[in-house]
């Protein structure tokens, strides 16, 4: 029987013996005669071989096994240790090959060397090699559900830390920097490989698993005020603002300087007060919302010969860079340079110190993220018999339904590590066993299960339950209330509909939508509903004769109808502007919307 062969999804021909063909393809690939980017898979249902060399396939390295014996030998390892061999040498020698998802279907990969049988085709280099970089930084990863593990790894990437040592000469957008980053007590093999201690992004906290007056319900956390004052979670937020002197046709160009009072759109002297002679703020200036940080004027938008006669013409426009609504900070760094096109470019970096506050987001490395619900003075925090007050109180209800056993393990691991002054190896699939840690805790004079007697912070009463307490590595995530807080009582509206604008950046309102409307209708709260939708109410004059919206002329204090003229009765009605708009749209479609007025009472 012949087997069809497809190369990158295209039919290329048939082969007589599929096994020989696949074997040949693989040996040639391992020999290096065919590109190592190639993968082949036999599908027994379709009786077809799919050979792939396209980009975009996920592939992972494994050790090749022959007759139950891995091709990677002691000799290789010795050479690797002496730096005589590198990774690419192993790939070229056919010791390690990359499998894609399809070829993995035909392969039998042993998890461990001791599992090897003659049927196995490959051997895992290390179980840790299944994970990506950020996932392998998490300790005891084999003790959580895989889905949570993945999300946890994703959370890790949002953490605030020391992202680059040369941050002070960089102009990165939206960057956070943790002031006192620490190395975690529970580490993994990847921490050494990735040199995590050179750029850590979290801090070791003493965590008590305890509820605290309802302020840590539903994934909230309670922080110790003293811990924050000692520097926990303190970070700086950097945001650069940039402006460029653009060139326009006709030899006109932007001008970075303090704007003249005559220009169009001049704000107010107060807004420009922080600018120096060159039109740029001075470093270390404290700036608040609406303050101008780069003063700039642009040439008029439309140029025509008429300008010679008009008085209003030839006036330059204001185009300064000002702080957005709700923003504040300190000018950290000013850079004046030139860009690729030779235009003058000014960049101003703003800095804002961020002390943890209610609503900021924190996470452990075990999918236990939460926002700060309360900051408690150290005096009111519960304490252990040895006098330890926790830095953070974590709600025990977050554990059972999520089954994040790794959280518990990391805590007793870190407890033993901290007390013994050593780092704990928590590498996924290859961690220090729980039993050993338990024994170590006993030898240190603690309970083996990590619980301790605690006392109420305010009354000093002993808590009936023993509390699970220990150090945990916590990360501050970049989502902070300061960047998200929004409120509005009045503010900008849209030009077309006269309804409030949308979104925080435009100081918008929160939409009271269709379903929200239904709730008020269901309650019969008719007047409240009307009031909610009053945001675009208008009073329009209506002609009683033809039912079309009439015109009110405030100069002559006269009302007249565009159809019936002045000899008609015109009355005011109150409707939403959106409805007036739809009446106009009807008229534009050739539909005559006639309003028939009658007294409501």
């Amino acid at each position: 029987m012949t087997t069809e062969v497809y190369l990158n999804g295209k039919y290329v021909g048939d082969v007589e013996n599929k096994d020989d063909f696949l074997k040949m393809l693989k040996t040639e690939r391992r020999r290096g005669a065919v590109t190592t980017n190639l993968n082949a898979m036999y599908d027994d249902r379709l009786n077809a071989i799919f050979v792939e060399s396209d980009r975009g396939r996920l592939r992972r390295p494994v050790i090749i096994v022959k007759d139950g014996i891995p091709t990677l030998t002691e000799k290789h390892i010795k050479q690797l240790q002496k730096n005589e061999l590198g990774w690419n040498d192993l790939v070229q020698q056919g010791v390690i090959e990359y499998l894609d998802a399809a070829e993995e279907e035909n392969a039998l990969v042993a998890f461990d060397e001791k599992d090897l049988t003659p049927e196995h085709t490959h051997l895992e280099i290390s179980p840790l090699a299944m994970l990506g970089l950020s996932a392998s930084l998490i300790g005891y990863g084999n003790y959580i559900q895989s889905s949570r593990f993945i999300i946890s790894a994703r959370n890790l990437r949002q953490s605030v830390g020391l992202y680059a040592a040369n941050y002070h000469v960089r102009m990165d957008m939206d960057i956070n920097l943790l002031h006192y980053p620490q190395r975690p007590v529970v580490t993994t093999a990847m921490h050494d490989i990735a040199q995590y201690d050179k750029h850590p992004s979290g801090q070791n906290l003493v965590v008590a698993v305890l509820s605290y007056r309802g302020y840590n319900m539903e994934d909230a956390i309670v922080l110790n005020k003293a811990s924050i004052e000692r520097g926990f979670g303190r970070s700086t937020y950097f945001r650069p603002a940039a402006s460029e002197e653009l060139r326009y046709s006709g030899g006109l160009m932007d001008n970075i300087a303090i704007p003249d009072k005559e220009i169009k759109g001049y704000k107010s002297e107060k807004d420009y007060r922080l600018l120096e002679e060159d039109g740029i703020v001075f470093p270390e200036a404290k700036v608040k919302e609406e303050d101008v940080i780069i003063g700039k004027t642009s040439p008029p938008r439309f140029l025509s010969s008429l300008d010679e006669y008009s008085l209003a013409g030839n006036v330059r426009r204001e185009s300064s860079v000002a702080l957005r609504h709700g923003e504040e900070g300190v000018v950290d760094f000013v850079l004046v340079t030139e860009n690729e096109e030779g235009n003058k470019l000014v960049q101003v970096r703003l800095r804002d110190a961020r002390v943890p506050e209610i609503g900021d987001k924190f996470t452990s490395r075990n999918f236990q993220k939460g926002v700060v619900g309360l900051i408690v003075p150290a005096t009111d925090m519960p304490f252990t018999s040895s006098g330890i007050t926790p830095d953070l109180i974590f709600n025990p209800h977050s554990i059972p339904s999520r089954m994040s056993v790794s959280y518990m393990l990391e805590m007793i691991g870190a407890k033993a590590g901290a007390m013994n002054g050593r780092y704990i190896d928590g590498t996924t699939f290859d961690a220090e066993p729980e039993e050993a840690i338990r024994k170590e805790l006993i030898s240190l004079g603690f309970r083996e299960n990590g619980v301790e007697t605690m006392y109420h912070g305010a009354t000093g009463e002993r808590l009936t339950a023993k509390i699970y307490i220990g150090p945990m590595y916590y990360l501050r995530l970049k989502h902070m209330v300061a960047n998200k807080i929004q409120s509005r009582a009045r503010g900008p509206i849209q030009l077309l509909t006269r309804q409030p604008t949308e979104g925080r950046a435009k100081e918008g309102g929160l939409r009271f939508g269709e379903m929200e409307k239904d709730t008020l209708v269901a309650h019969g709260a008719s007047m409240l509903l009307k009031e909610r939708f009053d945001s675009d109410k208008t009073v329009v004059p209506v002609c009683e004769n033809c039912g079309i919206i009439a015109i009110h002329d405030p100069y002559k204090n006269k009302r007249y109808c565009p159809i019936c003229g002045e000899n008609t009765e015109v009355n005011d009605i109150e409707i939403s502007y959106a409805f007036k708009l739809i009446l106009d749209e009807f008229k534009s479609m050739g539909i005559y919307p006639k309003l028939v007025l009658k007294s409501k009472y």
Binding site: V521, H523, S526, S576, I591
Partner: protein
């Protein structure tokens, strides 16, 4: 009626009065009736209560929790039934063609004891010619098809070769049928211009020809329910099934609401729609008050035919242009209203929300009434 209850005639429902008279001692009737009337008034929905929105929310909210489950029958013959949200949508939309039509056929006394139940069920099932054939042999030279019949199957269904020939003759044109025992020959009529193509088409057509059973009944499954045997079918044909003399027409039912409306009338359809929705909710363990559902099925059936809650059904019945336009395809509704010069009285909720007027519901309903002395008003006197 007892004289103590006469005052309440017309004020309280007849059924309530009857029950009260039956269960209450005569001496206490007057007091009890008074108390009952108070209670009855207290429990009534107040005027201005937005029952529609409340019903919509009460059905809509738990519906979001339903899963898209299909329910499997345990038994030899596998039968799928649409359940969950898709089924609710199907019923409330008033669909003509439902995904899995199903019947529950109850049988009259001697037949429901389980004797020969399989044979009865099998006789109901629609049998086509294709199912009775083991082999088709296309003979291109003689332009004929030799057919081998499945005699065992035919015996089971008590079909003879003669009846098969008869139905085939009725069903096909352009071919002659001859048959004896388990062999059957179909011969194309006419000349040499015909070939393999025509022969193949004949074979495919002949497969679908109806031989026996009830049209539309695709599968049958006899099931024991409590003390008797009933037949559950996939596919539905209520009219034909009810005509059979061994079927208990009082209890036999289908899950196709439209069909019930056609066969049994609109009141039956209302009850059927209600039962079907309740069944879905109950299967999912969702508790929705029956009155919300009754309101919905009532609005669906008031017009005398089953109308779905869609823009073609219930919504198209709304008197207000703006209300119709606010629910799907606004331009269409406005153009149609403009063509005939419709006017909108602004009597309902949506229109008033659009105009930013108080909606005529709840607190928006009552107006302030003041007594004004007309004479004084005319003389321009005010107090």
């Amino acid at each position: 009626m007892h004289k103590d209850l006469e005052d309440y005639d017309g004020k309280l429902p007849g059924k309530m009065l009857q029950e009260l008279e039956e269960k209450c001692p005569a001496g206490k009737l007057k007091k009890a009736a008074k108390r009952l009337y108070e209670e009855y008034l207290a429990v009534k929905v107040d005027s201005g209560e937005s029952v529609g929105v409340v019903a919509a929310e009460s059905i809509g909210e738990p519906s979001t929790q339903m899963t898209l489950n299909t329910f499997h029958f345990a038994g030899a013959a596998e039968m799928n039934v649409t359940m969950g949200l898709p089924r609710v949508v199907e019923i409330l939309d008033g669909r003509k063609e439902i995904k899995t039509p199903m019947m529950e056929i109850f049988l009259k006394a001697p037949y429901n004891k389980g004797k020969d139940i399989k044979e009865i069920a099998l006789a109901l099932k629609e049998t086509t010619f294709g199912e009775l054939v083991t082999e088709f042999n296309l003979n291109v030279v003689d332009l004929k098809i030799d057919v081998k019949l499945d005699t065992e199957r035919m015996k089971q269904l008590s079909i003879t070769t003669a009846t098969v020939v008869k139905s085939l003759e009725k069903g096909i044109k352009g071919a002659t049928v001859k048959g004896e025992g388990s062999d059957l020959v179909l011969k194309l009529k006419g000349g040499e211009d015909k070939g393999l193509n025509e022969l193949y088409k004949l074979k495919e057509n002949v497969r679908k020809i109806y031989i026996s059973g009830i049209k539309g009944i695709a599968q049958v499954l006899p099931v024991r329910r409590h003390e008797e045997f009933i037949i559950i079918t996939a596919g539905s044909n209520m009219k034909k099934v009810l005509e059979l003399d061994f079927v208990d027409a009082m209890r036999t039912t289908t899950n196709d609401v439209q069909e019930i409306s056609e066969v049994l009338g609109i009141e039956a359809a209302r009850q059927a729609a209600l039962n079907e929705v309740i069944r879905v909710f109950e299967a999912q363990g969702i508790d929705v008050d029956i009155r919300h559902l009754m309101l919905v099925v009532d609005t669906m059936t008031v017009s005398g035919t089953v109308k779905g809650v869609t823009r073609y059904g219930v919504i198209s019945e709304k008197s207000s242009v703006l209300a119709r336009a606010s629910f799907e395809t606004p331009i269409l509704h406005i153009i149609e209203a403009a063509l005939v010069g419709e006017s909108d009285e602004l009597n309902s909720v949506v229109e008033n929300v659009m105009l930013n007027q108080p909606v005529p519901i709840g607190t928006g309903l009552p107006g302030l009434v003041a007594k004004i002395d007309k004479e004084k008003l005319e003389h321009g006197e005010t107090k």
